[in-house]
Symmetry: C2
Subunit: 301 residues, 2 copies
C-alpha cells in the first residue's frame, strides 16, 4: 500500500492527458473521467481507473484535478448533476488547472468549502509540450497550507510553481500573463510588418531587435516562425481568443480598460475568419496585420 494520496483527473484533452500520464508515472493511483471515452484508452492501459462520472472520480480520490475547456464545463464537472460535489469526501482538495473566469473559480471554491473541501486555482502555461515534459509553469491561488500540501503533486506536472495569493489569484496571474503576452505579440508583428513594408532585411534586423529595448519572449521565440511562415500550433488562435475573452470579461467586471488587449482580440477575428484560422499557432496574428497593409512578413521577401 502506498502513502501517496489517490488522485482524480477530469478532462483528458490535449493538456489533461499528458498531465495525467505524468501523475501516473510519478506513482500516484489515478481515477479518470472524460466526456469522450476515446481519450482514456492510453491512460487506462497505463493503470488508471476509468470512472463513469466526475462524481465517481471524487468518491475515491483525495485530490481531484479539473482540466476542462471553459467555465461552463468546469461548473458542470463540479456542480452539475453528476458533479464532484455530490460524492467528494470532506478534507479533499480540488485543483482547477483550466483557465476559467476568476468569478467561476471563486464560486466553485465557495460551494466546495460548504462541504469542507479546499480549492486551488492553478492555471498552467507552457502548452502541450510543457504538459508532456512536465515543465508547465503553474500560478496558484488558495490557502497557503493547501498549496504546501499539494506542491509535491504539482511538481510531478510542472516546474515553475508559484503561490500568488488566495483562490482566484492564480487565475488573475494567468490572465495578466495572457494580456501582456498577446500585446507583446501585437508589438512584434507590428514592428516586423512595418519593417517588411519598408523593405528591411528582416532576419538581420530581427537579431538586432532581440538585443535591445524591443526584446520580448515573443520576439525571441515567435518572430522567427513568422519569418519562416511556420504557423503550426503550439498554442492555437482559438484558445488564445478564449483566454482573451475571459480576461476582457474579468476586466469588464473590474471596470479596468484594456485597450491593447481589446485591439488584439478584435484583430484576431480576421485570422479566425480564414478557413482553419482558429487552429493556427497564435503568432498567425501577423496575418491580420498583413491583410491590413497588403504585405507578407517573410524571410524570403
Amino acid at each position: 500500500m502506498s502513502d501517496l494520496p489517490n488522485i482524480g483527473f477530469v478532462g483528458l484533452g490535449i493538456m489533461g492527458r499528458p498531465m495525467a500520464l505524468n501523475l501516473l508515472n510519478a506513482g500516484y493511483s489515478l481515477n479518470i473521467n472524460d466526456k469522450s471515452r476515446s481519450r482514456i484508452d492510453v491512460l487506462a492501459a497505463s493503470g488508471a481507473v476509468v470512472c463513469d462520472s466526475p462524481m465517481q472520480v471524487a468518491s475515491s480520490s483525495d485530490v481531484v484535478f479539473i482540466m476542462v475547456r471553459d467555465s461552463e464545463d468546469a461548473n458542470q464537472v463540479v456542480l452539475g448533476q453528476s458533479g464532484i460535489i455530490h460524492e467528494i469526501r470532506p478534507g479533499s482538495t480540488v485543483i482547477v488547472t483550466s483557465t476559467i473566469s476568476p468569478d467561476s473559480v471563486r464560486n466553485i471554491a465557495d460551494r466546495l468549502a460548504q462541504v469542507n473541501v479546499d480549492t486551488l486555482d492553478a492555471p498552467v502555461s507552457g502548452g502541450e509540450e510543457g504538459a508532456k515534459k512536465a515543465t508547465l509553469s503553474i500560478m496558484v491561488g488558495g490557502k497557503p497550507e493547501v498549496f504546501a500540501a499539494c506542491l509535491p503533486i504539482l511538481e510531478s506536472i510542472g516546474r515553475n510553481i508559484v503561490h500568488l495569493g488566495p483562490v482566484g489569484a492564480g487565475t488573475i496571474g494567468k490572465l495578466s500573463n495572457q494580456v501582456i503576452a498577446s500585446v507583446n505579440m501585437l508589438a512584434m508583428c507590428e514592428g516586423l510588418t512595418f519593417a517588411a513594408k519598408a523593405g528591411a532585411d528582416l532576419p538581420r534586423l530581427l537579431s538586432v531587435l532581440q538585443a535591445g529595448t524591443a526584446q520580448s519572449w515573443a520576439l525571441d521565440n515567435q518572430a522567427i516562425k513568422v519569418l519562416e511562415r511556420d504557423f503550426a500550433p503550439g498554442f492555437m488562435v482559438s484558445l488564445q481568443q478564449k483566454d482573451l475573452r475571459i480576461a476582457l470579461a474579468a476586466a469588464e467586471e473590474l471596470h479596468v480598460a484594456l485597450p491593447g488587449c481589446s485591439l488584439v482580440h478584435e484583430l484576431y477575428k480576421s485570422v479566425e475568419s480564414e478557413p482553419g484560422g482558429g487552429g493556427l499557432a497564435n503568432h498567425a496574428f501577423v496575418r491580420a496585420l498583413e491583410k491590413l497593409s497588403d504585405v507578407v512578413v517573410s524571410a524570403d521577401a
Copy 2:
C-alpha cells in the same frame, strides 16, 4: 601628427555632448558647433575646436556627426544657409545619428552625394547613460565600404553596431525598434493595471511574469520602476512621442497600418497633458491607463 581623421560634431545636447566627449577621449581632433554656445564649454575645455557654423565644422573635418533634435534641424544643419553642404570636402562622410524621418535622411544623402560626400544614417539607442558610457546600440544604413571605414570611429561611442542596408535602413531599424518597444510597454502597463485592480500581489506576480511568455525588456527593466513610482528619466515621454510621430508618418507614407503604435501615441497625450508630463520617463505611460481605470499600480497598494 595623427593619422586619425578629423571629426566634426554638430548638435551637443543631452546625447551629443557625451558622444563628442568620447570621440575626444579616443584621440580624435574635434570641430564642434551648436546653436547654444553654453553647451560647448566642457568640450572646448577638453580641446575641441569651437566653430561658428556647421559649414565651418565641415570645412576642416573628414567625418561630420549630426546629432540634432529632428528632421527640420537636420535639414538646416546640412542644407541651410550656413549648412555643411557649402564647405564640406569631396570624399568626406556625414553620419546622422539623430532619429529623423527616412525620407529626410535619404534626401540629405542624395544632396550630399551630388558633392561627392557619403552619408550614413546611424540612429542610436541606449539613452544618456549609453551615450556617456559609450555603450550605445547603433543601427547603420549606407554603403558597406563607408560603414567599414567609419566603424572604428563608431566603436568609440557605441558597442552593438550593426549595418542593416543602404541609407535609410538604419532609421527603419530604429523606428521598428521604437514601435515594438512602445507597444511592449503598453502590454506591460496594461497587464499590471489589470492585476492591480484585481488586487494582486504585484511584486510577486512580476517575478512570475518575467519567467514566462509575457517576458520583455520592458517587463524586466521598467515594470519595477512603475511599481516603485519612479518616473525620473531616462528616455523622456516627449522624445518617445517624437520617435512615434516619425514612425507613424513613415508608416503613413508606406501605407502600413500600426494600430497598436497609434494607440500608444494617442494615450501618451494623456501623460503629456499633465504639467511636466513630457519630461517624465517613458514608462509614465502607465499613468494614462491608471487614469482610465481609477487605480494606482504600486508595490505598496
